[in-house]
């Protein structure tokens, strides 16, 4: 099948770039698809790449032949080349052949575009996750399970998931390169979009905002975490458990209630101005991209703007003592 040898083209191209950069190299992003949507899109891209490389070859061969064969040579100063007006046969040839080439690319394009659109319709019984883009983080709502979370979205492996995309402020765009192409998250109720994807292997997939949305557009990352079905169910159950406050975390919990709860919900199903922090201890990253360590978390609370320009969370370094911040951190790290 064409598909097979098309796939061999990828490592070949990779080799080329490897030679250019001279560095360690692995296929990543859209070139290492881990689900059916991204695979179909990569197939289409490779198909067009093959056609286009053929076009480039034809043009380059003609071009370099012309440039090398017909240089002006010594003694030609007084001879004038024949003034050729044109050539109908040739001109018709290079009109018809491109039309044919476009046709064989247009057909699969149309097919896949319609296919992706149809599959993304949220039909009855379909798992839908609502995504709201906010400057500069992502809120994920599981309407059926009653879970609201942020920055890290969990899905079961091998199952089609539809994402309902919208935005609370400016336009964002939702992209998980290894699983699917992107779609915009538009503000307002008129332009809600649906996108579907499926992960065939468990793993942590990088997600990005791809529409310029302000200062920290570059850092508006999220992770899509695909789990086996049973693990996923366990995660859901875990998220629905109310957080337990012990004597050790009591001080932090109180401080959190005074200072943070205004913006950050911790109840499982509640949305809030800032990210819902339920299950924060299990988050891989702070703010979507900083390793979730104690030190980083303390620094984040002290001055988040320094780490992620333009975020709306104010710095707390002057409002809270280091001890108080440590208490809050301790509490956050207890939120399983």
């Amino acid at each position: 099948m064409v598909k097979r040898w098309m796939k061999r083209l990828v490592p070949l191209m990779a080799m080329m770039v490897l030679l250019l950069t001279g560095c360690n190299f692995e296929l990543a992003g859209a070139l290492a698809p881990k689900g059916p949507v991204a695979e179909q899109q990569l197939d289409l891209i490779l198909w067009s790449l093959i056609v286009m490389i053929f076009v480039l070859l034809v043009v380059f061969v003609l071009f370099f032949t012309a440039v090398f064969r017909f240089r002006r040579r010594r003694g030609q100063d007084n001879e004038i080349p024949e003034q050729i007006e044109g050539n109908h046969k040739l001109e018709i040839t290079w009109t018809i052949i491109p039309i044919f080439l476009l046709f064989i690319m247009a057909v699969p394009t149309v097919a896949l575009t319609f296919n992706l659109e149809e599959e993304a319709q949220a039909v009855e019984g379909q798992r839908v996750i609502k995504v709201v883009g906010k400057q500069f983080w992502w809120e994920f709502t599981y309407p059926e399970e009653g879970i609201v979370t942020a920055q890290e979205v969990y899905i079961p492996v091998g199952e089609k998931v539809v994402f309902e995309l919208s935005s609370a402020d400016v336009i964002h765009s939702f992209w998980v390169p290894q699983l699917s192409g992107k779609k915009d998250a538009n503000p307002g109720s008129k332009n809600i979009n649906y996108l579907y994807l499926q992960a065939d292997e468990p793993g942590v997939y990088k997600g990005k905002c791809t529409e310029l949305c302000g200062q920290s557009h570059a850092l508006m990352d999220f992770k899509l975490i695909a789990l086996e079905k049973d693990e996923y169910d366990a995660w859901v159950a875990d998220m629905l458990e109310a957080p337990v406050v012990t004597a050790e975390t009591q001080v932090g919990a109180d401080l959190f209630e005074q200072k943070c709860l205004v913006c950050h919900a911790i109840d499982p199903g509640m949305g809030s101005v800032g990210p819902n922090l339920n299950g924060f201890a299990d988050r891989l990253y702070i703010g979507g991209f900083i390793d979730n360590t104690t030190e980083n978390l303390v620094n984040w609370i002290k001055n988040p703007v320094e780490m992620k320009p333009g975020v709306t969370m104010p710095p707390f370094e002057n409002e809270l003592t280091t001890d108080e911040i440590n208490e809050i951190v301790k509490y956050l790290q207890s939120l399983q």
Binding site: L20, T21, C23, N24, E26, A28, G29, L31, Q41, L42, L44, S48, L49, M52, L56, V59, F60, F63, A66, V67, F70, R72, I80, P81, I84, E85, G86, L90, E91, I99, L102, A106, T109, V110, T113, L116, E118, V170, I171, S173, P177, G181, K182, K183, D184, N186, P187, G188, S189, N191, K206, T210, L212, G214, Q215, H217, A218, L219, F289, P309
Partner: protein, 627 residues
């Protein structure tokens, strides 16, 4: 016709008096298309340098992961200003410079149709450009929402005056550009010399003609879009305010209805330049002239039908997406026709590799790469992957740098002797070419890959530890620096050449084909002593082959009517500039004052007829100018 002419002469004779300025006053009052062309060229080059510096800062910031050469806010300002400056204030004005200088010469006219409007167009563009950049002087935030200014980021979510500078500055410069476009259309339709039928017109004029039509229709759409942004930002309008029920997608449609033709506005003139330079240095007529004309027209037409391919991920639905995808792919056909026609123009020719021709020939492979990635982007389902990644950045830089900039540099080397009477240094020119070619491919080729592995565009930084990102970005930055060096060498070349004495002959490339090469370099203010008679395609080549040393005249030697210079366009533009600042800072006095200046100047212009003046035949001979 003849009696009208006589009458115009009689009229002018009655009132004719000659006003002449010198020095700076000469430049700000001039209505001579050649001087305005030079003004456009240098203003464009100035903005090109500014936009280039901004690009270098962008690449320096991205040279290393989590770099902090500039802040996130500053980075967004840099990308916005780089895009806006390069497209509106550098590329197009430089092309306008060539339009202005060359078109009247190629069609055998003494000036453009509206010399006064021409000057007004330039100054309005220029002050609009200054207004756009005024944040550099006032210390305000600069425009920061990308050159596409997507609402609501550009309306409700952009603090400071930056996006007001964008909407008002572009509004002004857009008006200037629109006036210019209108002028060229009328010039080409009405001012052609006897015998210069449309199908004998040099292809550069054809592309300028189609481009100008695109400008008239596209820039007016932009004007409305910018007006809406201004209303939303300054007067609390609700066009794009989603909370009140406005629609942010409306802006994207309006912007791209302008924005896509804008791409062709930039690249069609480059096509035209190639179609002049390659035949000249191949000593062969353009292969398939007729099909080139039709291909240009079809590209211009289709250019208006495909705007939504910039919006595949917006959620327009599969029907709209596939329609725009297929329409877009169709543009590849006429573009392909052009590529093959150029190659077959060189075929069996005698190619001379001058610097001008190197840029023209170098255009072909670079632009072809940009073209094929364009087709890949047109495929909606694939575009979901490519959209808003570095793949797109790579694609449009292959088209704009590989296409437009190569075309502009080819034109600069090709027409420099005609414009300034001196030929640019060939060796330095060739160094510029090779540095640009290497630097440009180094910068942008690798970005195709970066995009597909997941680097979105317009990111001010990226995290460490992503496979290959650091190395690829560093390579890209090194390429950008090389491009910077090549432009510096070009600037040095221009400066040292301008200091040399004028020594260029009428036809310095010896194989000139079109009429501008039949007259002195630089041409006298009246261009042609006698209006020429055009006897075929490549009019000057036809005369040379017939053994003539000059064009066959279409009229006897007589007094030549010239328009007087005027300071009014300059003052009107200042009025608009003041009013623009008034709108931005909400200062009623400045708004009224600025618009008042404009209106008074318009009234003066309307009431005081310009009789122009005459250059008498004795004066022409007395100067010893040989036509």
């Amino acid at each position: 016709m003849a009696h009208a002419h006589a009458q115009a002469h009689a009229h002018a004779h009655a009132h004719g008096h000659k006003k002449r300025y010198t020095g700076v006053m000469d430049w700000i009052t001039t209505v001579d298309h050649k001087k305005i062309g030079i003004l456009y060229l240098f203003a464009g080059l100035l903005f090109f340098a500014i936009g280039g510096l901004e690009a270098l800062f962008i690449r320096l910031q991205l040279a290393y992961p989590m770099n902090d050469v500039v802040s996130a806010q500053r980075f967004n300002e840099l990308i916005t200003m780089h895009g806006t400056t390069m497209l509106f204030l550098a590329a197009l004005p430089i092309l306008y410079g060539f339009f202005n200088f060359i078109i009247p010469l190629q069609i055998g006219a003494r000036d453009v149709a509206f010399p006064f409007l021409n000057s007004l167009g330039f100054w309005t563009f220029f002050f609009g450009g200054v207004l756009l950049n005024i944040g550099f002087f006032t210390g305000d935030t600069l425009p920061d929402s990308g050159w596409t200014a997507y609402a609501p980021l550009a309306t409700e979510y952009s603090a400071g005056r930056g996006m007001d500078m964008y909407s008002i500055g572009l509004q002004l410069s857009g008006i200037g550009t629109l006036l210019g476009g209108l002028n060229f259309v009328v010039t080409i339709v009405n001012m052609r010399a006897p015998g210069m039928t449309m199908m004998r017109m040099p292809l550069f004029c054809w592309t300028a003609f189609i481009t100008s039509i695109l400008i008239v229709f596209a820039f007016s759409a932009l004007a409305v879009g910018l007006l809406m942004i201004s209303f939303d930002r300054l007067f609390g309008g609700n066009f794009f305010n989603t909370a009140a029920g406005g629609n942010e997608i409306l802006w994207q449609h309006i912007f791209w209805i302008f924005g896509h033709p804008e791409v062709y506005i930039l690249v069609l003139p480059a096509f035209g330049i190639l179609s002049e330079v390659i035949p000249t240095f191949s000593r062969k007529r353009l292969f398939g002239y007729t099909s080139m004309v039709f291909a240009t027209s079809i590209i211009g037409f289709l250019g208006f039908m495909v705007w939504a391919h910039h919006m595949f991920t917006v959620g327009m639905g599969a029907v709209a997406n596939t329609m725009f995808a297929v329409a877009t792919m169709l543009i590849a056909v006429p573009t392909g026709i052009k590529i093959f026609n150029w190659i077959f123009t060189m075929w069996k020719g005698q190619i001379r590799f001058t610097a001008a021709n190197l840029f023209a020939i170098g255009f072909i492979p670079s632009f072809t790469i940009g073209g094929v990635t364009g087709v890949m982007l047109a495929m909606a389902a694939s575009d979901y992957v490519f959209h808003d990644t570095y793949f797109v950045v790579a694609h449009f830089h292959y088209v704009i740098v590989g296409g437009t900039v190569h075309g502009i540099f080819a034109a600069l080397f090709y027409w420099f002797p005609k414009m300034f009477g001196r030929t640019l240094n060939e060796t330095l020119g060739k160094i510029t070419f090779w540095l640009l070619l290497i630097g440009f491919n180094l910068t942008f080729f690798i970005q195709h890959w970066l995009g597909v592995v997941g680097m979105p565009r317009r990111v001010y930084t990226y995290l460490d530890g992503q496979p290959g990102w650091n190395e690829m970005n560093l390579v890209s930055t090194i390429g950008a620096l090389l491009m910077g060096v090549s432009v510096v060498i070009l600037v040095i070349n221009i400066v040292i050449t301008l200091m040399k004495p004028k020594n260029a002959t009428n036809d310095p490339w010896e194989d000139g084909r079109t009429m501008e090469w039949a007259i002195p370099s630089p041409p006298p203010e009246y261009n042609f002593k006698q209006t020429p008679l055009v006897r075929g395609l490549d009019a000057w080549w036809v005369e040379k082959r017939a053994g003539n040393k000059e064009m066959t005249p279409a009229e006897p030697v007589g007094p030549i009517h010239m328009p007087n210079g005027s300071i009014l366009p300059f003052i009107m533009s200042i009025g608009l500039f003041i009013a623009g600042i008034g709108f931005m800072y909400d200062t009623l006095l400045m708004i009224v004052g600025g618009l008042g200046i404009l209106v008074i100047c318009m009234i003066l212009r309307s009431l005081i007829d310009d009789p122009g003046y005459h250059i008498e035949p004795e004066e022409i001979e007395g100067k010893g100018v040989k036509a």
